[in-house]
């Protein structure tokens, strides 16, 4: 075995305390050092941390950003989300291929560049975008590629290229990114004035149970998508048996079309840290973890430095605000490119150094979460709401929004509109209002809540964003009348097919079958019965899948059939001869004809 490699791996493992729950960090460091995590390094890691080899290999094969094969020094990951396609990513991809002389998925012969696609990287308002190593490059167009590649060749390191600086803290030296916040509407909760420390002070003057009481009175519900009442979740976690409790912030933001947590992290980290500390006080925890999606690595140094500042100010760390016995610290755990890790139990698996597989519930994280400790997992925006609630009081908070959906919702709006970006509206805003604000014309469909949500047609534009009508984690994607809804549904099914963790058959196989049938219809080979089949299969997948991914993945198909049925019906033909239109006998015998050198005498 290669000794230097072994020594390198040994050193990295030791730096991580030979702790197998730090597996993601270990393999990421190994990959950073030697370009990949090959079989030899997998062997060494397994030996070093005393884990079965298959556990290490399982992690490496699970995450999109980890690889057993070495890639180019510069990996260009072009985002091929539906919104990027609308904004012309195909032409950009062509330009990259031409300039580098390779196909998508390939590496140049000198091992400098690898070119590949990646799902939504949270930049839909500035698409097409790409991740070049850890650097985000936005607003790409074919004419910019020549210069970009020549700059990359010259600098050999994407972080050294001087891109224009983005707005707000994106220009901060520790972020140093061309990403823009595009905050187009500030609301009363997240993007309003806030005095650091004030909420925390109020919380610490109460008993923990009283803090939970305030959150319950505020009727705050989770902003990550599922909308579970936050106060209740905290109460369960506080009541659960366990020596140690954990506060976990879900900053995985993987739902295509969602990018609001990125902006909140960039601009309102103070609200977030304070919300997490308040949660820590309320449930009796001294440890907070922010699970940051791999795509947002460019924010890590900045956030860590801000955590450091908060400690200096006494808002985090030991004896917070001088209160004896209340310690609370936050660390950042990076993800490695897996949508499913946004699901709270998969997120916990990932933090434990495992594949990002969801866990079977019960037990719920509030009972047994991270390393079996009672854990509350909340979305970035949820923690920020907590800070604001303590600041202005629950009574004032419930005045904002609607009765069942208090407060505001930060929406990330993108797609076919003039003003894509971040909008904070009180709950209860209608689609019509937000389409107007975003400058959307000629609208055919609005996708509310990303592909796991629903496609709404114009007869539903008076519907409201709130938990009892149209719930969303923040993703709003607009499609104009030129778009083919079937093709868009098909693109989103490809996303789910790729991102399914594969544990349950209905999700792993069912989504593939849905997509196959949809493609047959798009091909003009559909028949009326296919719609019943799609509906039945979709409902079965939802009913029998283990986690939220499978329980929502058929939605692109189901909600387009429901709300855009005429588009399906217009290309479906009734066939009366009983033959399956999808079966192509010529194609089926082609191989045998070539092999035997004779033509079929029957067909």
């Amino acid at each position: 075995m290669n000794e230097t490699l072994q020594a390198t791996v040994k050193k990295i493992c030791e730096e991580n305390g030979n702790d197998r729950t730090k597996m993601i960090n270990i393999v990421k460091s190994v990959q950073k050092k030697i370009g990949c995590v090959n079989n030899e390094s997998i062997d060494s890691i397994a030996k070093q941390v005393n884990a079965p080899r298959v556990d290490v290999e399982g992690v490496v094969s699970f995450y999109a950003f980890l690889s057993k094969e070495s890639k180019g020094k510069i990996v260009i990951r072009l985002c091929n989300d539906v919104v990027d396609k609308i904004k012309g990513v195909d032409k950009v991809a062509e330009a990259f291929c031409d300039e580098l002389g390779i196909k998508m998925g390939d590496t140049t012969s000198d091992d400098t560049f690898t070119l590949e696609y990646t799902p939504c990287i949270g930049m839909c308002d500035q698409a097409p975008a790409a991740l070049i190593n850890d650097t985000v490059v936005t607003d790409l167009s074919p004419d910019k590629i020549k210069k970009l590649i020549s700059d990359l060749k010259e600098q050999n390191d994407p972080s050294k290229i001087s891109f224009p600086k983005g707005d707000g803290n994106n220009a901060h030296e520790l972020v140093n990114s061309m990403v823009n916040n595009n905050i187009l509407k500030k609301g009363e909760v997240i993007f309003s004035d806030f005095e650091s420390g004030a909420s925390l002070k109020k919380a610490l003057s109460m008993k923990p149970e009283e803090v939970i009481g305030v959150i319950k009175t505020s009727s705050l519900r989770g902003r990550g998508g599922a909308g579970f009442p936050t106060g209740l979740k905290w109460e369960f976690t506080r009541a659960a048996k366990g020596d140690r409790k954990i506060v976990m912030c879900n900053a995985d933001e993987g739902e295509p079309g969602t990018f609001k947590d990125r902006v909140i992290l960039t601009e309102r980290y103070d609200l977030l840290f304070e919300g997490m500390a308040i949660a820590g006080y309320a449930i009796g925890s001294d440890a907070g973890i922010i699970y940051l999606r791999g795509e947002y690595l460019y924010l890590k140094n900045f956030l860590e430095s801000m955590i450091g500042k908060a400690k200096e100010n006494g808002f985090l760390g030991k004896k917070i605000l001088g209160l004896e016995g209340f310690d609370f610290d936050i660390r950042i755990q990076m993800g490695a490119g897996a949508y499913i890790c946004g699901e709270e139990s998969a997120l916990i698996s990932s933090c434990e150094g495992l594949r990002g597989d969801p866990k079977t519930r019960p037990p719920f994280p509030a009972q047994k979460g991270y390393k079996n400790c009672p854990t509350t997992v909340n979305n970035v925006e949820t923690f920020c709401c907590v800070s604001k609630i303590l600041d202005i009081g629950a009574e004032k908070f419930v005045q904002i929004g609607t009765k069942g959906s208090t407060g505001t919702k930060v929406l990330s709006i993108s797609g076919d509109c003039k003003k894509p970006g971040i909008y904070e509206f009180p709950f209860g805003v209608t689609l019509e209002e937000l389409l107007g604000d975003a400058g959307a014309e000629d609208v055919q469909a609005v996708l509310v809540g990303g592909p796991s949500g629903q496609f709404i047609a114009s007869d539903g534009f008076k519907r409201k964003i709130c938990f009892t009508d149209l719930a969303t984690g923040g993703s709003i994607v607009i499609f104009n009348k030129q778009r083919n809804m079937l093709e868009i549904a098909d693109e989103y099914m490809a996303f789910f097919e790729e991102e399914s963790c594969g544990y349950c058959t209905p999700c792993r196989v069912g989504n593939v079958l849905l997509k196959k049938c949809l493609e047959r219809i798009i091909d003009g080979k559909g028949e009326p019965k296919d719609l019943d089949y799609l509906n039945e299969l979709g409902e079965s997948i939802k009913l029998t899948s283990r986690c939220g991914l499978g329980q929502t993945s058929p939605n692109p198909v189901l909600t387009t059939i429901k709300n855009f049925r005429s588009q399906y019906e217009s290309i479906i033909k009734e066939k009366k001869d009983g033959m399956q239109p999808g079966f192509d006998i010529k194609k089926a015998i082609n191989e045998a004809e070539n092999l035997t050198g004779r033509k079929s005498v029957i067909f």
Binding site: M579, F583, I585, A588, I589, A592, R598
Partner: protein
């Protein structure tokens, strides 16, 4: 009134489903009171003599002739039933579906451990139907009205299903007949 007609065929199957059908034993005398057998290996009628009410299909489609026969069944039978796991899922023959035809040929006629074929000839008579790229379940080739699972479905299952269909009664299969382990 003329008795309705029943046709049966075995495509890429092992004839086990037909053997199971014969296991209805003396009940076959009752069956011929309800139907007249048409094209079927049971009476060796080779071509359809007219439109049939029911067609029973054993086995999936492994070659072009299977497809041809199945399409003829679809045209000539009002109700088509996939009988057995091969018809429904492809079954054992579909185990080749991950391999190319070339690989299958090489294993079967050249490299297999028990093969003796010094001249290395692959069977290629023009009478042999061309193989399909993979084995297809029947419902991917033509529309199938009902599926009777099992390997094979038991004689009682086949009997109950046919009698219910022919006498226009709802089919009630007891648990033992649809339990497979």
């Amino acid at each position: 009134m003329e008795k309705p007609k029943l046709a049966t065929t075995s495509l890429a199957g092992c004839f086990g489903c037909h053997m199971s059908f014969l296991d209805i034993d003396e009940r076959i005398l009752k069956l011929v009171e309800l139907v007249q057998f048409d094209k079927s290996p049971i009476d060796d009628i080779k071509e359809f003599t007219g439109q049939c009410l029911v067609g029973l299909v054993e086995g999936g489609c492994a070659n072009e002739e299977n497809v041809h026969v199945l399409q003829k069944f679809r045209k000539n039978c009002d109700i088509l039933i996939s009988v057995g796991d091969c018809a429904i899922n492809g079954g054992i023959p579909a185990m080749r579906n991950d391999l190319s035809i070339k690989e299958c040929f090489e294993e079967a006629y050249l490299n297999g451990p028990s093969v003796y074929n010094p001249s290395g000839v692959l069977p290629d008579d023009k009478e042999l139907p061309l193989l399909l790229d993979k084995v297809y379940p029947c419902h991917e080739v033509v529309k199938i009205d009902y599926h009777l699972p099992g390997c094979p479905p038991s004689a009682d299952t086949l009997w109950e299903a046919l009698v219910a269909l022919l006498t226009n009664k709802p089919l009630e299969l007891p648990y033992e007949l649809i339990k497979y382990d």
